[in-house]
Amino acid sequence: MILVNYLAAVALFCIGLYVLLTRRNLIKIVMGLSLMEASTYLLMVSFAYRAGSTAPVLLSPPAGKTAKQLAHGNVADPVLQNFCITAVVIGVAVTAVFLSVAVRIAQHYRTLDADRVRAMRG
C-alpha cells in the first residue's frame, strides 16, 4: 500500500501550492514552498521502498539472504535516498535565501503582504 504514501505526497504538494497561490503573507508563502519541498522528499523516499526490504547496507545481509540477493531487489533503492540527502541540505540553504528576501522586503516596504509590494506598478 505504498500508493497511500504517493497520494499523501500529492496532498502535501497541493496544500503547499494552495498556500503559495492564495496567501498574501510572505512568511506563509515561504512555508508553502517548504511544504512542497517536503512532499518531494516523501515521494522519493516512498519510491525507494520495496516490499519486505531492508536498508541498503552491505555488511551483513539478514539471515538466509546473500549480498547478491540484496542487489537484486531486497533492499530500498539507495539512489533515491542519495537524492533526498543532498536535497534536504540544499533546501535549508534555499529557504534561508527566501527568508532573507522576505526580511529585506519587510524592511523596505514595511509590510509582509505580497499584494502591497507593488512599487513597480507606480
Partner: protein, 337 residues
C-alpha cells in the same frame, strides 16, 4: 501604517479582553483552489501509473550495489552513490549550495563591511551621533531601537545592560526574556550533550557508515553551533563564528572539492574517478576518494549552512525612512537611498 495597526490592535485587545488576531487576507482563493484541484487530479492520475513496492530495483541502483564493495570497498551503497557513481551530480549540487549561501550573504549584508555577525552597529554609533544627532522618531520607535541595540550590541548604549544569564531572574517574571544565555539547567544539559553530538556526527563521517557522509555531518556541525549559541549566548561563540573565518573555510572546502574531483581527471582520465589507493574495508580510508570528498563536503556543508543561518540571525533593522515620508518626518533628513 504598521504603527497605526499596532496601536489599533492594542486598543482592540484592551476593549475586548482578548488578544487581537490579524485577519488573513487571501488572494483569489477560488482561482487558486481550481488550479490546485487540476494539479491534484493530474498528479493523482500520474501516481496510479508509477512503479510500486514490488517493482525491481532500477538498473543504476543494482549497479551501485554490485560495485560498492569490489570497486570502492564501501559497505554503505548510499555513500558510494553520493560520492562515487553520481559524484558529478553531488559536485554540481555543492555549487548550488554555495550559490544559495552567497545569495544569503549578499542579500543580508549591512551597509558597512562587518567583522562579526553581531555587535557591529556599536562601531558606527559615535559617527551617527555626530552627523545625525536627532535619532529617534517617537516612543515606539525609540523602544524598538533600544530593544534591537540590546539584542545586537556588545553594550547597549542608553539603558541598562541586560543580564548575561537568567539565573537570578525570579520565576514568573513576565516575558520577554532579555538575558543573553539560557538558565543553568539548559546550559548544564547542553554541556553534556554537545560533545556527544559532535563526536557522533564526526565519527559517522570519518568511518563512512552514515549514508551521505558529509551532508548529514555538516548539518550536525550547524546543530552543535546553534545549540551553543542558544544556550551560552553569542559572546561565547564569537571567536569561532566570524565571517572572515567561516567564509574562508567555506571557500577552502569548495576549492578542495574541485581539486579532489579534478585529480581524478588528471590521474585516471575521468572526472570524479578514484585516484587514491583503497584501504581495507571498514576502515576510515576504505572508500578512497569517496571519503576525501565526504570530508571536504562536511567542511563545505557545515560552514555553508552556518553562514546562511547566522547571516539571517544577524540581520539588523534598516532604520532609514522612505524618501517620500522623509519630508514630513521630524529628524529624518536622510538623502534618498
Amino acid at each position: 501604517l504598521t504603527r497605526v495597526s499596532i496601536d489599533e490592535g492594542r486598543a482592540l485587545s484592551h476593549a475586548t479582553g482578548r488578544e487581537a488576531t490579524e485577519r488573513q487576507p487571501l488572494h483569489r482563493p477560488w482561482v487558486g483552489a481550481l488550479l490546485v484541484a487540476g494539479v491534484a487530479a493530474a498528479f493523482g492520475a500520474a501516481m496510479a501509473g508509477i512503479p510500486r513496492e514490488h517493482a525491481p530495483l532500477p538498473l543504476i541502483a543494482r549497479y551501485a550495489l554490485e560495485i560498492a564493495i569490489p570497486q570502492w570497498k564501501l559497505t554503505e551503497p548510499v555513500n558510494e552513490i553520493v560520492y562515487g557513481t553520481r559524484g558529478f551530480d553531488t559536485f554540481g549540487e555543492t555549487f548550488l549550495l554555495l550559490a544559495a549561501v552567497i545569495s544569503v550573504v549578499v542579500i543580508t549584508r549591512p551597509r558597512e563591511p562587518r567583522r562579526g555577525y553581531f555587535g557591529e552597529s556599536a562601531a558606527g554609533a559615535r559617527e551617527q551621533r555626530q552627523d545625525d544627532p536627532e535619532i529617534g522618531f517617537d516612543a515606539t520607535e525609540d523602544e524598538a531601537r533600544l530593544a534591537e541595540r540590546r539584542e545586537q550590541d556588545e553594550q547597549a548604549s542608553g539603558g541598562t545592560e541586560p543580564a548575561r544569564t537568567p539565573d537570578a531572574t525570579p520565576l514568573g517574571t513576565p516575558s520577554p526574556e532579555t538575558a543573553e544565555a539560557m538558565t543553568i539547567v539548559v546550559r548544564t544539559a547542553i554541556r553534556v550533550v554537545l560533545p556527544i553530538l559532535a563526536v557522533a556526527g564526526l565519527y559517522l563521517v570519518a568511518w563512512g557508515f552514515s549514508p551521505g557522509g558529509g551532508f548529514p555531518g555538516g548539518a550536525v556541525v550547524l546543530g552543535v553551533l546553534l545549540l551553543a549559541y542558544a544556550s551560552f549566548g553569542r559572546r561565547k561563540i564569537s571567536k569561532v563564528i566570524r565571517p572572515d573565518l567561516i567564509e574562508t573555510l567555506e571557500l577552502a572546502g569548495a576549492a578542495l572539492i574541485i581539486m579532489t574531483e579534478l585529480l581524478g581527471l588528471v590521474f585516471r582520465g575521468s572526472f570524479s574517478a578514484n585516484w587514491l589507493p583503497l584501504a581495507q574495508m571498514l576502515t576510515p580510508l576504505s572508500g578512497g576518494v569517496a571519503q576525501l570528498f565526504s570530508a571536504t563536503e562536511l567542511l563545505e556543508v557545515g560552514t555553508g549552512l552556518t553562514i546562511a543561518v547566522f547571516a539571517l540571525l544577524g540581520m539588523s533593522h534598516d532604520w532609514a525612512r522612505d524618501a517620500d515620508s522623509d519630508t514630513t518626518d521630524r529628524g529624518g533628513g536622510k538623502q534618498g537611498k
